[in-house]
Symmetry: C3
Subunit: 338 residues, 3 copies
């Protein structure tokens, strides 16, 4: 492919040698003379002069920053992502059902779908056009998988849950396990926990990506709902009856307790958590390892993590957190006694 082809497909201005042949993408430091790189983060600006890339995607402001053949666009990072997609199209799978897949007679699998070995598909399930069900996936009864969605491998979807079109679900993800709901009944002697049947579903929109070993629980009575274009990383836990808005991004190791409502375009940092029964408004950003303990009603960034200290400094300082109330009183007294 040539620079001029990229310009035709993706728009922008091709500046410099438009006949530069390109075979792939690379980072600004590792790209070779037949690879195209990009400059989106000004932090890497100084690396550009020493880059051996064959071409570069830059923003309008950086049009004249380099003599390299360049594609000048409004959003160089998004443009780079699209170029990378052109050079690295998703794997193609032959349509059809592997003989070592077990599909219930009452399931519907589109002829253009691809079902791999060791897959189990339950009664009433529907697998859409061009969908891919990778090896070892377990698809429960009445599950609905949208067109062109790819379950990579070893994905489990419990009965009646649905996922929209063009999604990607990575290995080990579990969609629709029982929410964590038990009523205490310790009155009669020892007693114990009474399980509340979890009869809602998980309903996932279009264009979502769900990470490896992530779990999204089904609703207790109503459904757990994930919007469109939601991106969820690995090792995430979404509790029952959560509602997650379109375009929201959830990083790895996040835990969201039940019945929380997360808005649109929210960004949850890695390892952050949400107490149950809260609301987080559109466009909120939650920092890494921050616990959301009350609803967030205004957009912006929210943080609640401890700073990193040398262990000796931590010992000397953090012990006083346990007596901050007394310290505050002492200050008030000192100020008052002046």
């Amino acid at each position: 492919m040539y620079m001029r082809d990229l310009q035709k497909i993706l728009g922008g201005d091709a500046v410099g040698e438009v006949n530069q042949p390109l075979t792939g993408v690379g980072t600004i430091r590792s790209a070779t003379s037949t690879q195209i790189t990009f400059l989106a983060n000004q932090r890497y600006r100084s690396d550009l002069s020493s880059s051996r890339a064959g071409a570069v995607i830059v923003g309008n402001a950086d049009r004249d920053l380099t003599p390299l053949p360049r594609l000048v666009v409004a959003n160089p990072y998004a443009c780079f992502a699209r170029v990378a997609q052109l050079f690295n199209p998703p794997a193609l799978y032959a349509s059809g059902v592997h003989p070592a897949a077990i599909i219930h007679a009452d399931a519907q699998v589109a002829e253009s779908a691809s079902v791999a070995e060791y897959v189990s598909i339950g009664r009433g399930a529907v697998i859409g056009e061009g969908a891919r069900i990778g090896p070892g996936c377990i698809i429960g009864d009445d599950v609905w998988v949208g067109a062109h969605t790819c379950l990579v491998a070893r994905v489990t979807i419990y009965a009646r849950c649905t996922i929209g079109a063009r999604g990607i679900v990575h290995a080990g993800a579990v969609i629709g396990a029982d929410g964590f709901g038990f009523a205490p009944d310790f009155s009669a002697g020892d007693g114990g926990w009474v399980k509340i049947p979890q009869v809602g579903r998980v309903v996932i929109g279009d264009d979502c990506e769900i990470g490896a070993n992530t779990s999204i629980d089904r609703g207790a009575i109503d459904d757990t709902v994930v919007g469109n274009d939601v991106k969820i990383d690995n090792q995430v836990q979404v509790g029952h009856n959560c509602v997650i808005g379109d375009h929201t991004i959830i990083s790895g190791c996040v835990g969201i307790a039940g019945t929380s409502t997360i808005g649109r375009r929210v960004m949850m940092g890695g390892g952050s958590g949400v107490i149950g029964h809260l609301e987080i408004c559109d466009d909120a950003i939650v920092s890494a390892m921050t616990l959301v303990t009350k609803s967030i009603t205004e957009p912006g960034m929210y943080t609640g993590s401890m700073p990193l200290m040398k262990h000796g400094d931590w010992l000397r300082n953090v012990v006083h957190v346990r007596r901050l109330g007394a310290l505050a009183d002492a200050i008030k007294n000192a100020a008052g006694s002046k």
Copy 2:
């Protein structure tokens, strides 16, 4: 089913129209005229007057709160859970072994058990009466699965581990992987870590539920022990040689390091953690994202999380955590110099 049937099965007082026909359960806001709901949390009290439910389960104090047909009981939440179970019995599986399951000749599978496709059961394993081994489960040698326990799908149980009766284990759970034990031996040149064989088991009691993608490690020499009626949510990690008491509840994303002893009826909040070699007494409650760094010897609630702040407030305030010791000294001096 009619209100009067529920009363006969579950006790309590049926007040109002006992011939109300009911087909299921609903939330106080979503229930329809043939569904029964419940009022346990006083927060939802005001929703009751506008509820379109056909009937409601209430506590004794709320007997006269509504004209709806109602079942008056001591513990409305537990009663609701049992009603929901009546309307939503667990899935029934035909007994027998799927032809695409591989069962060692020396394993014992009860005739009433159900073994699904792509299951592997090892030598000497015992599967109890009415148990369900769902698709893709891997059961190691000499594993023991109690009567009526359900491994939903893709559960792995390593050799020699046991789980009692009436349990539920969700997809992706791993019971009995090696504990994390290595001895450093860096003396000879570079050296490295020497693996300590993990030869204990995991022993799980009756009536336990284990969440999706949760892992419970086998003991190093002695066993890892989980009591009866223990409920463990998704994405939880239990280290080797932990002992967890009856009725304890462990929420999602909790991590418990090795050789910790957790008492009975303990509640671990989501994302909380326990350092190894500690004890937590009966009836302790650990808040979400709290790290337990020393043994807890008195019942009650324990917390150690950071409050949520707007990021600007966090920047302004939390920087001072690094100099709390100096602040405390300054206060002492100020007070002393009066």
Copy 3:
């Protein structure tokens, strides 16, 4: 086996009855008269006099602490690990491929390797001498598994990733899922996230152990790299393009965001986290549930966790964290006004 045999194999001094027959290992409290235990932690010193062990491994300083038959060595813990390995050798698997495994015609599986039921091995994959691919593993195209490495069960390795020799990967681990990379493109109307193809690999060295349900993402363009003798516990998330040095130990529930470089012999405590694009130097120790928010350039221990408090104490004290800046100002004023 006799004490004298252990001494011949492992070195050190055998003191006392060298003909003591031994059948296994035990803890200092649980070992029986035919088991050998060890004393490495001085905390258990007082237990030695009441131990019923048949023999004990001690350090040079403890040579005369007990009349028990004893093996005196420089590193009793590492010696104990090796003795435990002698008594508990890893499971042996018959070489060969189970008929219910599906292996691409263009894959190479060593004759001495063992491939279990319900395994899928892709085109161009290479399985080394003596390797074990346990039940339910999914091995992508062009994956390389080193000699004597054991994938216990239900491990997924995505295309082109490699793992070295003598490794152990536990059930549910996912190696090589897509890194979490999306470019925002919300300019045109609503817009959305543009996926950045993740075309790097995961490259894992020799002698590594990867825990249950852990995930290590493939690189975006360059590779994610895990060195030799790295030990990773359960439920860990390693983001794309991380580089992890030899001998590093990562405890359970750790999350490492993308493009972080972790040195050699680093120890990451349970539940700790690392923000992306940082470096952690050799020999750093990060405490449990500590978030690393900036690069660590000096060896030593680093901590950033909140102390545990009774909930009432937490309420009284931690509220003041939100006004630490004002408190610090008040102190400065009080001191200045003297």
